[in-house]
């Protein structure tokens, strides 16, 4: 079951991100883990679109339709990255608000809403 280096890289990035979320206690570290996971997914999306022996899909003079790599995943990644940015921006803002009110970022203490 040989998967390319890029797939392996993408999956391990996602797992590292998930590991951080599952184990780390500090909220910021969790958010970092979240963004690592998102980059992992983006890497996976891009590497799906790669076709061996072809170059970027800019059809200037040298490259014809069947020398270009698959353009769709690159378009999707563009959107996915921006979504990642948006989520992380909002997460950080929420973290700022949390810190301002509770003066802590340890998720063990951030448990007011439970039961």
């Amino acid at each position: 079951m040989n998967i390319g280096v890029y797939y392996f890289g993408a999956i391990s990035l996602m797992l590292i991100g998930l590991y951080a979320i599952l184990v780390k206690k500090n909220l910021l570290k969790i958010l970092v883990g979240l963004s690592i996971m998102e980059t992992g997914v983006n890497l996976l999306l891009i590497s799906i679109g790669y076709i061996a022996g072809r170059s970027a899909p800019i059809l200037s003079e040298g490259i014809g339709p069947n020398q270009a790599v698959d353009p769709i995943p690159q378009a999707l990644v563009l959107t996915a990255i921006v979504i990642g940015v948006a989520t992380t921006a909002l997460a950080l803002t929420v973290a700022i608000n949390l810190y301002e009110t509770y003066k802590t970022l340890n998720i063990e203490e951030l448990r007011r809403l439970r039961g």
């Binding site: 390319g4 999956i11 059809l59 353009p71 378009a75 563009l78 948006a86 803002t93």
Partner: protein, 235 residues
């Protein structure tokens, strides 16, 4: 605590193995293109753009990008809404060093110009509205780093943001009015401008128009986010 880490690693390995076994059946370098092949064959004829990715981003899957722009808009409004305080001012004490301040004053124009270049040439060279906008935002970020009192003009930035967004949708609506399809490339399809000079600046229908709009919008939004995060809120 150690038990938890071991358990986490074990679960993640199993999930990883599962995803790997799934991905193994999607061979890495193989040509799996179906719709993409159609794009590559027709991008020049139908959109006039040399850079297939930007054609896909703006023309073929324009709806995604519209959604994309809204996501960013939500992010910036959300951040502004959540960090909104009655009285906000910058609390940075130290002014940037002499090298930083003069460098900032000098480089600001060039960075903005470079950003503009990226999103204007979106249909030709790699990169488009988003990377261009981001570089512009870095220019403003540099100013924030350099000067402790500098603030971007909020009201005008928000209005430009709004106008840019409305511009994008207006372009789409004009497409609906003229070509009876929302986001229809009326410049390329109906008016037929720039058919002759594919590969040069004034080509690829309304892609450059949209990319400039997106560039400005992203630039103002990201700097807005930077601005609201940097300030300390009083009560």
């Amino acid at each position: 605590m150690v038990m938890k880490r071991a358990l986490a690693i074990l679960t993640l390995l199993i999930i990883g193995y599962w995803m790997a076994s799934a991905l193994a059946n999607v061979p890495f370098g193989a040509d799996k293109m179906l719709v993409a092949q159609y794009y590559l064959n027709h991008v020049k004829a139908q959109t006039g753009a040399v850079n297939a990715v930007t054609a896909v981003v703006v023309n073929y899957r324009g709806f995604d990008t519209l959604g994309e722009v809204t996501v960013l808009f939500i992010a910036s409004t959300g951040v502004a809404a959540l960090l909104w305080r009655k009285k906000r001012e910058r609390t940075a004490e130290t002014e940037g060093s002499i090298v930083l301040t003069t460098g900032a004053r000098l480089l600001f124009a060039f960075i903005v110009l470079f950003g503009a270049y990226i999103f204007i040439h979106g249909h030709l060279t790699p990169g488009g509205g988003f990377p261009g906008g981001a570089t512009i935002a870095t220019a403003f970020l540099m100013l924030y780093l350099a000067f402790s009192a500098y603030e971007i003009p909020h009201r005008s930035f928000e209005v430009t943001e709004g106008l840019a967004g409305m511009g994008y949708v207006a372009v789409g609506l004009i497409g609906l009015a003229i070509g009876s399809y929302f986001l229809f490339d009326w410049i390329w399809q109906t008016w037929g401008w720039g058919h002759s000079n594919i590969g040069r600046l004034f080509s690829a229908g309304f892609i450059p128009v949209i990319y400039t709009i997106i560039g400005i919008k992203v630039g103002t939004e990201l700097s807005g986010i930077v601005d609201s995060m940097v300030k300390e809120g009083g009560e």
